[in-house]
């Protein structure tokens, strides 16, 4: 077990833990002592019909979701809703390579699928809270992958769904991006097939990952407008080091690989009868497919293609300078539009 103080309540704020015991994964392996770290905000009402579920994106935790999306007067208003933010497996707070028990730690951590997360989250909601319906599942990027899986796996439970800047099935272009993500770490000799000492031994690989995400996560307009100045950085170089390497450089390489491989295999039509169009047609939730202008990883056109396959779906493109990483809340215009569309959806 690698000690990594980044994955702690000191850094990410308090959370609760749901113990799944031995959790059998879709591909047949078992995570021994599997745990989901989650945070709830607001109160579950008596009818248990005010639940909003938010799964996390790649490398994100409950903390940034709460800070950016939850608040009084916001669409995710804790005075109205019981908001459950669940950390995905592999993100460092839920069960992850860096903290798994021998002999499943590090390079031995089993391969996890989006569907595994969703099944585990379903156990948490039903066993811990006896929740039978969800007013809204929403999530960005890998959170959108989980949102789609929720809407398809539990169609009678999910009343509304808002996948943001993500797809139900990974596109070939996005698959290639995740391969470059994986390569950026595994090409570092210090990675040693997952058997490094400290996570920072792999700093060159982590820095390459940070640069790759900088290029694809922010939009062309973000660079053109030198948005790093508004974010408090003096140059692109200062931004790459101070923000991007500052973000990824503290994380555990095996954790990042576990999530990247999960992302890369994301496909709701996998292991189901029918192709993508037939599977998306099964969604019963009122759905808002939200895309982000200038998103190089999940371009609006790819989101719209899936929207057209969902029976009760609306499609909105959020205008912003920041591209995919507008998800981080760097642009207040983005947040205003997200709230507007989520409010529309929640009042429907």
């Amino acid at each position: 077990m690698n000690k990594n103080t980044y994955y702690s309540e000191e850094v990410h704020g308090p959370y609760q833990v749901f113990d799944l015991g031995d959790f059998v994964l879709e591909k047949g392996d078992t995570i021994r002592g599997c745990k989901l770290a989650y945070k709830t905000v607001g109160e579950l009402n008596v009818a248990k019909d005010n639940v909003i579920l938010v799964p996390t994106w790649y490398s994100g935790t409950h903390q940034i979701i709460e800070q950016v999306y939850v608040g009084k007067g916001r669409a995710l208003d804790p005075e109205k809703y019981f908001i459950i933010i669940i950390n995905q497996i592999g993100n460092g707070l839920s069960s992850s390579p860096h903290e798994a028990m021998f002999p499943q730690q590090g390079g031995n951590f089993p391969e996890v699928q989006i569907s595994d997360d969703v099944r585990a989250q379903h156990q948490l909601l039903t066993e811990e809270f006896s929740i039978e319906q969800i007013a809204l599942v929403m999530g960005g990027s890998m959170g959108a992958q989980q949102t789609y899986e929720w809407a398809i796996r539990y169609p009678d439970m999910v009343k509304r769904a808002a996948p943001i800047a993500g797809t139900a099935k990974v596109t070939t272009h996005n698959f290639l991006f995740t391969q470059l993500m994986i390569d950026s770490i595994t090409s570092d000799p210090a990675w040693h097939n997952g058997w490094y000492g400290a996570s920072t031994d792999v700093h060159l690989g982590l820095s390459r990952l940070a640069k790759l995400f900088a290029m694809m996560g922010w939009s062309h307009q973000f660079f053109k407008q030198e948005r790093w100045l508004a974010l408090g950085f003096s140059s692109m170089s200062d931004f790459i080091t101070g923000f991007m390497v500052g973000y990824f450089g503290l994380m555990d390489p095996n954790n990042l690989l576990s999530m990247a491989r999960k992302w890369q295999r994301g496909d709701v039509s996998h292991n189901r009868d029918g192709d993508l169009s037939e599977v998306l047609a099964q969604i019963k939730a009122k759905t808002y497919v939200l895309a982000i202008e200038g998103d190089l990883m999940f371009p609006p056109d790819d989101c719209e293609t899936e929207h057209l396959l969902i029976p009760d779906s609306e499609y909105r493109v959020i205008q912003t300078t920041d591209g995919h990483f507008a998800l981080f809340g760097t642009d207040s215009n983005y947040l205003n539009q997200v709230d507007k569309y989520l409010n529309e959806l929640l009042s429907s």
Copy 2:
């Protein structure tokens, strides 16, 4: 000197060589025995006013330029024009790290700038052919960088200019892309700071470069439409290996790095009085700034920004599914539009 049979007339077809002797570079180093490999098509007329100059893009040679852009009935018609295609320094046919004489070979090859290429090309045109005016300079990507430098350095010589899918000054986003290009090779331990044995020793780095270019060189639409099927490949994976690795995998890593660093520093306002707007304002050539729809490396918006700074300039966006690598001639619609716009420009 590394032997690399890829860089040969057997592979790239016949070419001529212009000997510059000891060529002093902008940064002060000297390439000893500097040579430019070039090919001419058509005949120089008596007035010497039918010259079209085409510098090469990153990793390209005279061969693909001739095959894709030159032909009877095309805009670059050898029955009307004397077409000179000049291989850029570092591309493996002109002076390059892989074949330089001791002690300048490999990792010791001096740093070359876009302006060095253009000064060397100017010597070739004036000393070998006594050319005093150029009807058209055109080039794609790094060829566009050289085209801009030509129009600014020799404003009275260049009558028309057509930079395609490239910029006069590298953008911050593009700078980051070139850094990832560089990192993809230099992160391979087999690169050994440039002192590898055979170029194929660095095959992991070259494969990463190939994947990076696949992601950024083709457009989202190219992937969405699975254009590799039309190009004779059975899947994306088959295309990445068969086409992209097949292309870069034979090249010399130090050559690729030399060109990448030249690209990264491309900036016509460097070492000149004034900022980019003042320098572009000096262009006297009738200019057609041609951008390519869906180009992730040089998005049309970046090209248009520079177009607006050039006194006598027209701006056209070429419609294609293929993005930046439409330059390769994979889409006949692209070629028809290029010819149309070049014909407009040549008849002006």
